[in-house]
Structure formats: structure tokens, C-alpha cells
Symmetry: C2
Subunit: 101 residues, 2 copies
DNA sequence: TTTACATATTGACATATACAGATATTTATA
DNA sequence: TATAAATATCTGTATATGTCAATATGTAAA
């Protein structure tokens, strides 16, 4: 996913920040974040039903969100429960919205 | 750039928000935004020198930022001057950073 | 231990995006 | 008008990303 740029001087800072932003740059992932605003945690099946998407698609996006430190997860019996790592991500969304007004 | 998803119910809201976020999801574009924090406006050549990238690449990213309403531009003689449409975009960047801490 | 359930992973394919080179456009100046 | 400078656009190609289908893994229950 990392962007390759022919600009060695380009500060790592921006490359890393861009990677973080990319984690949020997908409607399904945004929707997941929004769902987790109301329910503290949800398992894959619950999310799948809410999103009406194939299990593999949901799982794929959850793994991206988890690997980018947006979500936490814990396993309970057969289920994997996902939750927001920080409520600050909700701020990001509203911050984005107001910036583009 | 728009994402096609097989989920008609998926609210437009998230698709549009994702598009906005994608506008920011590139290190070069972030760097441009950061540069424009300090200098109110810069022309393409100035940005090109600062970024040390090919003119076409810079121009390409500027056009994306402009089309997504992140930047304004005004033409003065031969030069096209770009500036931040809103200082709020700087908040977005810091907001992202603190969210991922 | 077999079966069903919940989730993750893999691989093929399609699409989106980025980049580089060439060319076009616009404007100023000789 | 011819030329140079500044910027934009186009085109081919490489890479990244998303989707889907199939399969694998892990866990619980019969």
C-alpha cells in the first residue's frame, strides 16, 4: 500500500501520515467506524449484516483497520469483536467534513 | 477515483467523505498543504523546486487538490498561484496525528 | 470425531492511481 | 511573428488497491 516516490528528500513524515489517511479513505471502512461509534464493539457477523457485504470483504477491511491501529479486536469463543481504538477517529471524520464546507 | 461498491444501501455520505479523504491521502499532496501553511501562496515553479519533482507530477497533484476543493488558484501573468482554500485542512493533519498516537 | 459456524487467508481478476515522457496551451518578450 | 517560459494535458505503463470466489483455520456442539 505504501507509495513509492522518486523524491528521497520527501520527509518520511508525510509518507507515514499519508498511510494513516489511506486507512480511512474507503467508504466501507468509514461506515464501520461510524457503526462502532454507537455500539462499543461488534463482531464480524454483526458488521456483515449491517453492511450487507460478503464476509470476506468485511473481514478484509477489518484487517486493514486493525493493522493500521484504527481498531482493536478481541476473540471471544467463535467470535472476533472489533472496537474503535480511540474515539478521536470520530473527530477526524467531523474535522474532514467541516474542512471541505 | 470513485469507489464502486455492491451495496446500494451504503450511504452516499460515506462514499463522498471517502473521496474527500482520498484527496489528502498522498504524501506529495500533504507536503504541498504543509508548504502552503507557511507561504500564503506559491506558484507551480516554486512548489516544483521545493518538492524536487517533475513539473508534470506537481501539476497533476495540484489539479487533484484544486478539483477536490482543497486549493484555490489564481493566475497572474504567466504564473498560477495556489493557496489553501481553508486553514482547517491543517487541523485535519494534526487531528490525524493525534488520533493514531 | 464429525459437523456446523465464525472468521481469515489466498489467488485471480478488474479497476484506480501514480508516474514519466511528449506534446499542447497560454502568455510575455525579443 | 518567432521564441521562451510557465503550466496543463495526454498517453502508455507500472503499481496499488479492491472485489470475489474458493479454501483454510479455528472453535464449539452434537
Amino acid at each position: 500500500m505504501a507509495t513509492k516516490i522518486k523524491a528521497p528528500y520527501l520527509e518520511k513524515e508525510w509518507i507515514e501520515t499519508a498511510e494513516k489517511i489511506k486507512a480511512l479513505a474507503h467508504p466501507i471502512r468509514l461506515y464501520v467506524i461510524a457503526l462502532l461509534k454507537h455500539k462499543k464493539e461488534m463482531n464480524v457477523t454483526e458488521l456483515q449484516e449491517e453492511l450487507q457485504l460478503e464476509q470476506a470483504v468485511v473481514s478484509h477491511h477489518l484487517s486493514i483497520l486493525k493493522s493500521r491501529s484504527v481498531l482493536n479486536c478481541r476473540k471471544e469463543r467463535k467470535n472476533m469483536f472489533y472496537s474503535l481504538k480511540s474515539k478521536k477517529f470520530l473527530n477526524v471524520l467531523s474535522c474532514i467534513e467541516t474542512s471541505f464546507e
